[in-house]
Symmetry: C2
Subunit: 291 residues, 2 copies
């Protein structure tokens, strides 16, 4: 069987780049050099029935989720979204279902003035439904916030609340943190969006930056119904995890998300994540792995 994480780790080796690609596979978005003063951001993500949503989920909501999880990747670079392309492969769904899914994605995009400009539909050989959305965005040259920029001494922050995303319905109805991401373009040293749980995504940020993170577990902002293990392993939060040399207390405006400082960046040690007793925070064997 396919092991998704192993493939993702191998992707940079499988995918040669050229001078147009400033940042290739491995961050929230690729960064592509363009004429003019902006770079292009590009990312692609999928939703699959029975994995990312249920057969009884309204297709508009599934389409909205697909758009918003891609917009979240643009937010995680500090970028401004531009447009999207959508493909659907399905078997056992009628046209009304497909059209409702497409409309859900398209309307969620237009909330942020992001039109779906193209796509494709095709039949699966077996029953099922999967959809891919590719998002494009823009960012001033050299301003993309990568996962690799965290420095020892930086503070560690998250937006919003973490954990219990699935049962609370957050995974279908979250707001991508585009406003916060654009603000953080000038403040964050490293950033990603939390899609696979705080534990795994914090490890990814630490590994990319070649640092370790001290996390104050008591400071992690929990969604209603969540305890710390939920925050670590539930996933699908689509909040921003970022580091900054600045001591920030809140975003500049009432209409921004809540901001929480949850730790500090420390020199790379044996463990990527440690708690206040300097004990390693480990991946539970039941820890969430995004399929």
């Amino acid at each position: 069987m396919m092991n998704e994480r192993k493939i993702l780790e191998k992707l940079p080796d499988l995918l040669p780049v050229n001078s147009r690609i400033a940042t290739g596979a491995g961050d929230d978005c690729a960064v592509i050099n363009m004429p003019g003063n902006n770079q292009l951001l590009a990312a692609a993500d999928q939703v699959i029935e029975n994995i990312h949503f249920l057969p009884e989920t309204p297709p508009e909501d599934a389409g909205k989720k697909l758009m918003n999880r891609n917009l979240s990747d643009i937010a995680a670079m500090g970028g401004v979204p531009l447009t999207a392309l959508l493909t659907i492969a399905a078997n056992g769904k009628d046209n009304a279902y497909i059209e409702r899914f497409i409309s859900g994605a398209a309307q969620a995009g237009m909330v942020f003035d992001v039109p779906v400009c193209g796509g494709d539909t095709a039949s699966l050989a077996e029953k099922g439904f999967c959809a891919t959305l590719t998002i494009l965005g823009e960012i001033p040259d050299g301003k993309a916030v990568l996962r690799s920029g965290a420095k020892s001494g930086d503070f560690v922050y998250v937006t919003g609340c973490i954990g219990n995303s699935f049962y609370s319905g957050h995974h279908l109805h979250f707001v991508p943190r585009l406003k916060e991401g654009a603000f953080l373009r000038d403040h964050a040293s490293a950033m990603l969006d939390i899609s696979d749980g705080l534990l795994l995504d914090a490890m990814r940020l630490a590994a990319s930056s070649n640092v370790s993170l001290f996390l104050d577990l008591a400071s992690i902002p929990l969604r209603a119904g969540a305890v710390v293990p939920n925050a670590f392993s539930d996933g699908e939060d689509y909040e921003l995890l970022f580091t900054s040399p600045e001591k920030l207390t809140a975003f500049p405006g009432d209409d921004f998300a809540k901001l929480s400082c949850i730790g500090r960046v420390i020199e790379r040690g044996e463990s990527l994540l440690v708690d206040k007793n300097n004990l390693p925070i480990k991946m539970d064997k039941n820890g969430y792995e995004h399929r």
Copy 2:
């Protein structure tokens, strides 16, 4: 069950656009306005096991096909390809298969200096394999060749040979007509790539341009093993169908594809396609419909 063609016809209504989108869904690529002197081209296409390739097809070849059919969409606009993103959803395939597929796509891209800069892999709930590739390209402002520009009196041309793509293996091993497309940017009035058979794609070009086409059936260049009905309905040729006010006899170089004039553009009549006896050329009830 899903009727793909009906959804595609409805897409422009489902997908609102904004001023960044010069051409939205409905052509081979979307055309996106960018700072500077180039527009961005974007298209997304899929391959699905048991539909676009077989379980025994080497995964490298399936990956190459996915890349090349997307490159063909860039060619059909007269553009230059830039980069691509690849997503895979699979169940019942091991990592080696997935990696071979990815490598096949990536290496086919690098033949044209087109790196795959990002992507995603995920598990399908049921057995199967589908992959989406989104291609990005560039074209000087206003130079994209759309489907809608054919004028009465123009000549109708195709590159290469048509028909019998599947049994000949052409569908896995064709060369996308990028060089020809880039040349035609300054010569063609309308263009698309033939993916669903000459009949359906010629009808699309005619309908987009609000013209009819007279086709000289005897002039259609047939691939070995094909007769005219194959050319009309087999599909997966990935040759360029285009119109031009110029009388062209060949491309300017030995390393270009064969060029055949197969008809003329005429005023829009009752039938989109007519033969030399002015009789309508119709879609056979068994005519190829791309699933």
